[in-house]
Amino acid sequence: MLTSQDCGESVFIMEEKAEQAEQKDQENGTAQPAPKLSYRELFMIFITAGLAFGGGLGILAVLEDEFVSKRKLVSKEEFLADYALGRVVPSGTMTALAVGFGYRFGGWLGTVIALIGLVLPAFVITIALTIAYGYLKQGPLLDWLPITVLPAALAFIVAAAVKLGKDVFKPSLDFVLAASAFVGAFVFGLNPALLLIVGGIIGIFIFGRKKPEGAAQ
């Protein structure tokens, strides 16, 4: 399992080294082949990742396989450093990784190609299933949705919530925070957006002094 810790390797230093190597090549005139990817390869890698099941971790496994194990384009340390950076970006972590790797191997156009590859499979299937819903709603199948797909979806949401908080379900500050949020939203009807921001700020105070530990997900 990949974690965001222990990736002391600095991307910055890596980039500096790469730049130095590039300059050297230009001076010598002997092109030491730097890792290169065609746009087509870049697209194929990310569409493969976009077809992976299992959400973020499923995608991460494909990217690790393609960039680190198979093609040896980036070292394990670099990959972990990029992953850790991606988690700080306020978007899906895999979106951030697509931008990062796309930019590194294909510039601005590379970011667009990587993102399209990552998003396209899920987008097409999602829209197809949404169109199917439009037909289900009008047809005789409507009666079946409330006893099949919809309660199952609710179960997925509950399972996702339980998996999110590692320490939430034992006596801990996490439990107090989550329980307060529940009461605030359910009993007092406070705005969830407001509660999220307040929860984050409280997090800085109550989790900030503990030994470093990554937030769940």
Binding site: F53, T95, W144, A152, A160, F186, A193
Partner: protein, 173 residues
């Protein structure tokens, strides 16, 4: 409710929740279902079910919501809204790498994630009140929860088996 408002909302919620699919559910439930009343609980649930059985990122259900409300344009703009913040990766790669171990950012995300667990349960109860209206629905819900959480079955298999249970119960009843 207008298209720019929807896209702005999705953009904001995605940034606030660091692109975490399930964490956005309470925000969407509150704003789109309760306050704006442009989306039904069933539509929100169906969108989330799609996200679970579709490959790729779990927050892609915003495309379904965008499509339900504003067709192709809505779907594409909602996906752009959750994608564009990813471009912050480039300045980060270029030298702000110390952020990755920034304790404050980590603690903030952890506080936010923890809070969201409580919020998701609150939203689940709200949704459940209007969605789990029959005994069969409850059975299907519990079967799906057992399969996905306790037995760790994959979502597609879980959805199929839970649905078959629902269909059989209804035919038998």
């Amino acid at each position: 409710m207008s298209l720019p408002l929807l896209v702005g909302m999705i953009f904001l919620f995605n940034v606030m929740t660091f692109g975490n699919g399930p964490v956005m559910i309470p925000l969407l439930q509150k704003n789109l279902v309760e306050e704006q009343a442009v989306l039904t609980v069933d539509q929100l649930l169906y969108s989330f079910a799609i996200a679970r059985v579709t490959p790729g990122q779990a927050n892609m259900y915003v495309a379904a919501i965008g499509y339900m409300l504003y067709g192709w344009v809505g779907a594409i703009l909602c996906v752009l809204a959750i994608t564009l913040p990813g471009y912050l990766m480039i300045p980060l790669l270029k030298g702000f790498e110390h952020f990755k171990n920034n304790q404050q950012v980590k603690s903030f995300t952890r506080g936010l994630t923890t809070t969201s667990v409580g919020l998701i349960f609150a939203a689940t109860l709200q949704i459940g009140k209007s969605s789990l209206t029959s005994l069969i629905a409850w059975v299907v819900f519990l079967v799906a929860l057992g399969l996905t959480y306790l037995l760790k079955w994959n979502p597609i298999l879980t959805l199929v088996v839970a649905s078959v249970v629902g269909v059989l119960l209804k035919l038998w009843a």
